[in-house]
């Protein structure tokens, strides 16, 4: 086994031999429908796309509107006082940010999504709304190279100072063992 050369041209996409890909059906249950209705009232026309699964509805919004939408979710009727989870997904042509918001008072969850361009991804920081966002954003900055204007401290969190590249991206080479 030899190490993959980071400079080498990306290999052509291998031909898939497996069974055809099935797309999951997204069906909300009764409780999910209620939450989805609340979310639709809160977002209004800002929701570009929405669906959901079981009791987790999600809505995709424009990256520029995300901060305002998140603030409305926190302060409005939904009362989402906890940023449960934030993650970035590398879809090669774009980077999708996913925010899981949770309300400890109403016990409801919603998911907000926003698409960022793959080159120079940036989105407003939510660290002024939830303290929890500070570390999630530093992590996403380390691993995916997403910029968060508004976050006070963007020093590396999981990686060391001076680390080059963003290991969360699909384009980052996964080096194999080399004999030594």
């Amino acid at each position: 086994m030899t190490a993959q050369d980071p400079q080498a041209a990306p290999a052509e996409k291998p031909v898939r031999h497996g069974p055809p890909i099935v797309i999951a059906e997204e069906v909300l249950n009764e409780r999910g429908e209620e939450t989805a209705a609340q979310l639709a009232r809160t977002l209004g026309p800002l929701a570009l796309e929405s669906a959901g699964r079981e009791d987790n509805p999600w809505a995709r919004v424009d990256a520029k509107e995300l901060h305002a939408v998140a603030k409305e979710c926190r302060d409005g009727e939904m009362g989402m006082d906890m940023l449960n989870l934030m993650l970035a997904v590398d879809w090669i042509d774009r980077i999708q940010m996913i925010y899981v918001l949770y309300s400890t008072t109403n016990n409801r969850k919603v998911i907000l999504k926003a698409d960022l361009p793959a080159d120079a991804p940036a989105i407003d920081s939510l660290s002024d709304l939830w303290e929890a966002a500070t570390w999630y954003e530093r992590e996403a900055h380390d691993l995916f190279g997403v910029d968060f204007p508004g976050n006070r401290d963007m020093s590396p969190l999981l990686l060391y100072e001076g680390f080059e590249g963003h290991p969360g991206l699909k384009s980052y080479p996964l080096n194999d063992y080399e004999e030594w």
């Binding site: 699964r53 449960n84 997904v89 303290e131 500070t134």
Partner: protein, 370 residues
């Protein structure tokens, strides 16, 4: 602060860790101190970063379970449960009832083992060397049962998407019943020895206070959040497996200080042991694996599943592209989120209390850094 100095002074930076016995692993924090008071804390993590989430993208679903064993290496079975639940949700399969009971019994036993480790090491952090001996004796009994059932003391790889690897041995139920009696006595022993000890109370009561709204904003969960009086427990709020069939209480703290966070874990041990007894009373016979194909190849889609880890709300966000490997696995690590609250709790405390506060969060660095 009443005795604010009236002259010019410079704050001193004090480095604590990564090789420090009270950080429970490789964790470093830089304390900005003014005399004996801590003005600010800057935590530095990442010494144990292994890229688990990225590795999970090149492993098949079955192999990812082994990675989850190693995320939080104190409560392996709880972590496996979180991932297989996400897998089951995306594959739309449900584990048979017997498998769910086995999982819950083992997960709750693992919770007790994890809390016992916390009680023992927390006493060491505060200068009491004895309780850890009692706690490890009891924890060892639980590990012996795990070895008997799963074949390994720690890295079990026992749960599967759709069930568990193998059925429990014939002597499982009497063994667990005997174990519960022994462990309950052990927890009571440590509880009596430590919880109301005067020195222990002086070190923990009123130290590291965090109020409910701040704790929620920081994303705290588990006993660290419930210590501040916020009743958020995934087992109650988003019931999974057979938890709705069990009768149990969620202990709540009032003051949000180190003692509350500590004592909640002691109370949770008793609750968990009661839950296991109820599970044994209801323990059904039947299959242990859902019927259907053995190779996990879920439809393309996304799910978010979470469960209650000893440290808090452990979430798994799973993105599938329809192949036999996950496209993206994101773990919501409760220890990572609990550490966000460390700076708020430690500001204004004494340097010696920084150790007490860090210990009361019960972090596992494998999970913080992943």
């Amino acid at each position: 602060m009443t005795n604010e100095p009236q002259f010019d002074h410079v704050d001193m930076m004090l480095n604590m860790g990564p090789q420090h016995p009270a950080t429970h692993g490789v964790f470093r924090m830089v304390l900005t101190v003014d005399g004996e008071r801590v003005v600010d804390v800057t935590p530095h993590i990442g010494y144990l970063h292994r890229g688990t989430e990225r590795l999970a993208e090149v492993e098949t679903y079955g192999q990812v379970i082994t990675l989850f064993d190693r995320v939080d290496y104190i409560s392996n079975l709880n972590n496996e449960l979180a991932f297989v639940r996400a897998g089951e949700k995306i594959m739309e399969v449900e584990a048979p009832e017997r498998a769910q009971y086995i999982r819950v019994i083992l997960a709750e036993l693992n919770r007790v083992a994890s809390h016992l480790l916390f009680i023992g090491t927390y006493a060491i952090d505060l200068g009491g060397m004895t309780p850890v001996m009692y706690c490890f004796r009891e924890r060892e009994r639980i590990e012996n049962l795990f070895e008997h059932v799963t074949g390994a003391r720690m890295m079990h790889n026992y749960m599967r998407i759709g069930g568990v690897k193998s059925d429990v041995p014939d002597d499982f139920v009497p063994w667990v019943r005997r174990l519960i009696g022994e462990v309950r006595m052990g927890v009571e022993e440590s509880d009596k020895l430590l919880s109301t000890n005067e020195v222990f109370l002086a070190r923990t009561q009123g130290v590291g206070v965090i109020d409910g709204p701040t704790a929620v904003s920081c994303g705290l969960s588990g006993p660290s959040l419930r210590g501040s009086g916020v009743a958020y427990d995934v087992r109650k709020d988003d019931p999974y497996e057979i938890y709705p069939y069990l009768n149990y209480k969620i202990p709540l703290g009032e003051n949000g200080d180190c003692w509350d966070r500590y004592y909640l874990r002691v109370l949770e041990c008793y609750e968990s042991l009661n839950m296991i007894e109820q599970c044994l009373d209801q323990f059904p016979a039947g299959p242990i694996m859902a019927a259907g194909r053995r190779i996990a190849r879920p439809p393309a889609g996304e799910v978010f599943a979470h469960s209650e880890n000893p440290r808090g709300d452990l979430g798994v966000y799973l993105v599938s592209d329809g192949s036999d490997k996950p496209y993206r696995v994101k773990i919501r690590p409760p220890s990572f989120c609990n550490l966000v609250g460390l700076a708020t709790m430690t500001r204004g405390a004494y340097i010696a209390d920084a150790v007490a506060i860090l210990g009361s969060l019960d972090i596992v660095l494998g999970e913080v850094d992943r």
